[in-house]
Symmetry: C2
């Protein structure tokens, strides 16, 4: 089994191919996606990665640990359990996840029975709709009152990488500068340019400045 402990490598002096040496195999980046939301137990990962078989998951976690991207941690009692979490270096992959997600938006079909809308994927999916190019000069808090639930967007103006200035979490904020109401799918349509904002039932309320900031951030405009 551990026959050639040397993993298959592209053997090029190139930072992209080095990344792919570490991340390029099937399922690897999806494991990082799961851990980007926080520490997870082995079985949590298994449940969120249907189609991935246990043997492969164990293998990938070992590989990621060896690469310094993931580490094991033991939760203190009570409920002492092994969890996996990203190392600081692993968290540097968040911008990669964000850019992959941005690109994938264009190819995202509507949720079907085969591909149901999974709640735990929504915060990162919503963040993918936001544009780091349109980060405002002042922080604000937005409330997305969507058909699929309430989400809080917190935009700050400091911190690198840029994508981490945008935080999305489940639940409604204590106080919001601006509130968007509508359906997630309609928001996705407008974001992709498939529909004009005024052809949807999306409404945005707040001070003009904050409304403009939220519309810029998610590229929600009339055409």
């Amino acid at each position: 089994m551990p026959r050639t402990h040397e993993r298959r490598s592209y053997q090029q002096f190139c930072p992209i191919s080095r990344s792919l040496d570490l991340l390029g195999e099937r399922w690897t980046i999806l494991i990082v996606r799961e851990l980007a939301a926080g520490p997870r137990r082995y079985t949590d990962l298994r449940d969120h990665l249907p189609g991935m078989w246990s043997n492969l998951l164990a293998q990938r976690l070992r590989d990621l640990e060896a690469a310094g991207i993931v580490r094991r941690a033991e939760l203190p009692p009570p409920a002492a359990r092994t969890v996996y979490e990203l190392t600081p270096r692993g968290r540097e992959l968040v911008p990669v996840l964000y850019e992959l997600a941005r690109f994938g938006l264009a190819y995202l079909d509507l949720p079907t029975e085969d591909q149901p809308l999974l709640p735990h994927l929504l915060p990162e999916g919503i963040r993918a709709m936001a544009l780091i190019e349109a980060l405002p000069s002042r922080p604000f808090v937005a409330h997305l009152a969507l058909d699929v639930g309430d989400y809080t967007i917190t935009v700050s103006t400091t911190g690198a990488p840029l994508v981490e200035r945008i935080r999305v979490r489940e639940g409604r904020p204590a106080g919001a500068d601006v509130t968007l109401r509508g359906s997630l799918v309609e928001m996705l349509w407008v974001r992709r340019g498939d529909a004009s904002l005024d052809a949807t039932n999306i409404t945005i309320e707040g001070s003009p400045r904050h409304v403009a900031a939220l519309r810029d951030l998610f590229d929600l405009h009339e055409r």
Copy 2:
């Protein structure tokens, strides 16, 4: 050929897994990397991707074409040739390449005989060392007089995605605001935090503002 035309898919309603459905197979992203530098002929691609076998290259190009990421174009006579190039949608992958490259810098070992320094990979590699978080408020032109050759960095202040505000091309500029002299590997050391700038032979010349801008852009600082 008894092909299941249905490609293997992660079957999740998630933009990251959709991207990986299209890009996740071996060699695919490296083909995009090659085409990001401009249109290329089949044999150019083959020569720049050692270890990738012709049958796979043909297969991947077909897949990328079907996904709308790559298209074929016929060059007009003389020298009529088929070339492959990125579609507009394919060019949206440039930020993904940039973030993968940024991540991979930390894992990049020094060039060896096995992994020689390939000139055509250097512009994108140099850009990976630049930080979109540190884009200046005014444009400037820098000249990198490196041991491996001369490169021109052109930084603009408009354009999305952000990474495309940084352009790196071979050759020296007609006029530069700031000039950096040194070796590529030393620059990489400092950029990764493995060495302090003053422990290297790197020199930066220009007006204080432009020197600061270049140092910020490449995170070249004393520790």
